[in-house]
Subunit: 404 residues, 2 copies
C-alpha cells in the first residue's frame, strides 16, 4: 500500500517525539508499505517566527511572512529524515520547491493547485521513506506560499489524492472524531466512521480535528482518510464517502464559541437589500454563517447574521464606512453567543430531529436565539455561557454515548 | 551603480542590528544605486540548528544537514525584507531556488556553477532592494546544498560577477585587511588596498577576513571587492587586480595555529613514493600544505607535511589502513605547531626578504621547523607558543606599521 501519514507540530516538538514518530513510520515501512510523511513545523516554531517578525514589522508583507514561516516545516522534515536514517532506514526530505507543490498566489491562505509526482515517485522507487513539508506551496511567481490554518492536513490529503494513495492517516492529539468535544461533554463517544459530509459540517461547526479544506479535498478525490492518535495505537475514525456502519440520525454535537452576532436594525425594506449586505461582506472575504431576516416594522426590516469573532471588527468597520449606502438605524453586536450544532446523515428525512433538539433545550430552560438548518445539520445560537449545558443536553437526548 | 552588499550573521543577529543594516542599505539605495543584499543566518542560528541535528543524529547525512541549515539564511532574508519595508522602502527576499543558484552536488561544501539572473533582474527593474540567501545553492537533483565556511562571501562575489556589479562590499566585524591580526600584533596597520593574489595568500594562511574561494572568484571575474566594517563608516580595504598604491615588499603577516605536522619516518626510498603518499591524500580530499622530504638514511627517507588540524585524525587513519602499501617504520605527529607567513607582491624578485625574515626569528631565538616559499609568500613552521612572538618580530622587522 501507499500510505500518506501526517503528523502535527506537537508530534515533532522535540528529539524524543521525533523518534517516536520515526519508529511508528518505520513499523509501517517494515510491513512493506510505501510511506510518505507530511509534517508541520515543530511545536512553537511557527509562533516564535511570528514573534520574530512582529519585533521587526507588525504589519509585515504576507509574502515575506510566508518566506519566513515556511522554514519551520523544512526544519522538521530534515530532522525527521535524520531520525529515520539514525534508526537504520532510508529517508529523504523534500520541500515545496522539490515536489512542485503548485499553489494559488494568495500568501498566507493559498490553495494547492497541483503537485508534481516525479521527484516523489523517484524517491519511492529508491525505497526511501519520503518526508514532505506540509503547510506550504510555491505559486506561479516561484514565491513561497503557506496554506493557512490546518494547511498540513490539506497538504497530506492533496498528496494522497495526487498519488492515488491507498490511505491518508492524519495523526493528531485526539484519537479520533467524537460525538462531541470530550472536554465539554463527558460521555462523548469516539466514532469508528463518519462520512465526508458529516465531517465537513463538524469541521465548519468548530470541531478542531480536521480542517475543512482537507475534508473537501478528500471528498472530491475520494481519499481514504483516517484520523488517529499519535500517542496511542487506537483505530481512530475513518472518514469516507458513506458511513455504512453508523448510519445514525445524529452523529455528533459541535460547539463554536468564537462567533459573534451582528444585527442591522431598521434597514429600508427594498428589493435586493439582503443581496447588497451579503455581497459587500463577500467582497471583503467575510464568511457569514447563520442569517436571520425579520419581517420588520413598517417599511423597514432587520437583518442579523453571525460571523467569526475575528471578523467582528472588520464587519463593523465595513458597515460604518458604507452607512450612507444602507441607511440602517442602528448596528448591534453580541460576542457572548455560541453556536451549538448537530450533524447527521439522515436528518433531512427525519423531521423529528429538530423537534427533539429544541425539546432538549427547552427542558434545560435554554433560549434559542437563531436557527439554521441544512440537509445534514441543525445549528442554533445560544448564550455563550449556556453552550456547554446545551451540548450535553442534546448529546444525552440523542443518546450519542451509545453505539446504535 | 549596481552594488552587492554582504552582511554576516553577527550583523543580523537581532532586530536592532537588522534595522541598522536596513538603514545602511537604504542610504545607498537613496543615492540611486541598485542594491543586492546577501545575508548569512542570524547570529547563532546555524550553531543551534547543528545542535538540534546532533540531538537526533550525530552522523546525520550531509544532504539533510544542508536542508536543515539553509533555513537559517531564508529566515534572515525574510526578516530583512520586512525591516526595509517597515522603513518605507521596497524590498523582496529570494532563496537559492528562486535565483537558481546552481551548484555542484557536494553537500556541505558545494561550489556555485551558475546563477540565473532572470528573477533578480525583474526585481531590480521593479526598483526593489533584492535580498538573497547566502551560503546556499541547489544542485542538479534540485537538492539544497551549502557552500561551506565563508560561503556567503562566495555567494556575494558570484552574484557580483554574474550580474556585472560595479562593486561587491563585504561587511564584517573588522574594518578591513590588516598587515597582521591586530589581536596578535598590536601595531598592525589597515591596508587601503591589496591585490587578489596577496589576499588569497593571506586568506589561505589563516587571515579570517575573506574566504579563499570568494577571492579566487573575484580574481577570476575581476570583481571590485571591498572589505569594510558593518559598525563604522571607515573606507575599508579594496581588493583588486593590482595594488598600485602600496606596492610593498611585504604586505602582511599571518598566523595559523590550526595545523598539525605529520611525519612518515623510514619510508622505503623508491621512485614515486612521494607521488603515492600525496595522491592518496588528494583522493581523500585532504589538503596538504608545507612538505619536507628528507634525504634519509640508507635506502629509506622521511616525508613530513602539514595539514589542517581537523584533518589530522583522518590522515592517521588513512595511513594506518595503508600501512602495508607504504612500509614506513613509524608515523609521528605534532599538533602544537603554528605556521607564520609573510605575503607580498614583489617577494620573488627581492631575495633579501627571506633572509630578513629568518634573521628576525633568529634574533628572537625562535627555531624554524619547516620552510615553504612561493612567488608571493614565505611560510615557516614554529612551535605554537612561539607563533605570536614570531609574528610581532617579523611585523617589526619589515616596519609594516608604517605606510611606505
Amino acid at each position: 500500500m501507499l500510505i500518506v501519514k501526517k503528523f502535527g507540530g506537537t508530534s515533532v516538538a522535540n528529539a524524543e517525539r521525533i523518534f517516536n514518530v520515526a519508529k511508528r513510520v518505520i513499523e509501517s515501512y517494515k510491513e512493506g508499505h510505501k510511506i510518505i510523511v507530511v509534517l508541520s513545523a515543530q511545536g512553537d516554531t511557527t509562533d516564535e517566527l511570528i514573534e520574530k517578525a512582529a519585533e521587526i514589522n507588525t504589519n509585515a508583507s504576507k509574502r515575506e511572512m510566508d518566506m519566513l514561516l515556511s522554514t519551520g516545516e523544512q526544519q522538521s522534515v530534515a530532522l525527521m529524515a535524520m531520525a529515520i536514517q539514525k534508526l537504520g532506514y532510508p529517508a529523504v526530505s523534500l520541500n515545496a520547491f522539490q515536489c512542485d507543490i503548485y499553489s494559488t498566489s494568495t500568501y498566507g491562505n493559498a490553495h494547492i493547485k497541483n503537485i508534481s509526482t516525479e521527484r516523489i515517485g523517484e524517491e519511492l522507487e529508491k525505497n526511501n521513506i519520503v518526508i514532505i513539508t506540509g503547510f506550504q506551496g510555491v505559486n506561479r511567481n516561484s514565491d513561497v506560499t503557506t496554506l493557512g490554518r490546518g494547511g498540513s492536513d490539506t497538504s497530506a490529503v492533496a498528496l494522497a489524492a495526487k498519488l492515488n494513495a491507498d490511505l491518508c492517516e492524519i495523526y493528531t492529539d485526539v484519537d479520533g472524531v467524537y460525538t462531541a468535544d470530550p472536554r465539554i461533554v463527558k460521555n462523548a463517544r469516539k466514532l469508528s466512521e463518519i462520512s465526508y459530509d458529516e465531517m465537513l459540517e463538524l469541521a465548519s461547526l468548530g470541531a478542531k480535528v480536521l480542517h475543512n479544506r482537507s475534508v473537501e479535498l478528500a471528498k472530491k478525490y475520494n481519499v481514504n482518510l483516517v484520523v488517529r492518535s499519535s500517542l496511542t495505537r487506537d483505530e481512530g475514525t475513518i472518514v469516507k464517502e458513506e458511513s455504512a456502519v453508523e448510519k445514525m440520525l445524529v452523529n455528533g454535537v459541535a460547539v463554536d464559541k468564537d462567533i459573534a452576532r451582528i444585527a442591522l436594525v431598521g434597514l429600508k425594506d427594498e428589493p435586493g437589500i439582503a443581496f447588497k449586505v451579503f455581497s459587500l461582506l463577500a467582497k471583503n472575504k467575510i464568511s457569514v454563517d447563520i442569517i436571520l431576516q425579520s419581517i420588520g416594522r413598517g417599511n423597514t426590516k432587520d437583518i442579523s447574521f453571525t460571523v467569526s469573532i475575528t471578523d467582528l471588527k472588520s464587519v463593523l468597520d465595513i458597515f460604518e464606512a458604507n452607512k450612507n449606502r444602507f441607511n440602517y438605524e442602528d448596528i448591534l453586536y453580541n460576542d457572548k453567543v455560541a453556536k451549538v450544532s448537530i450533524v447527521g446523515g439522515s436528518m433531512a428525512t427525519n423531521p423529528g430531529v429538530a423537534a427533539a433538539m429544541f425539546e432538549a433545550l427547552y427542558d434545560e430552560n435554554i433560549n434559542i436565539k437563531m436557527i439554521s438548518t441544512s440537509e445534514i445539520k441543525i445549528s442554533i445560537l445560544v448564550k455563550e455561557n449556556e453552550a456547554d449545558r446545551a451540548a450535553n443536553a442534546i448529546h444525552d437526548r440523542f443518546r450519542l454515548d451509545q453505539v446504535k
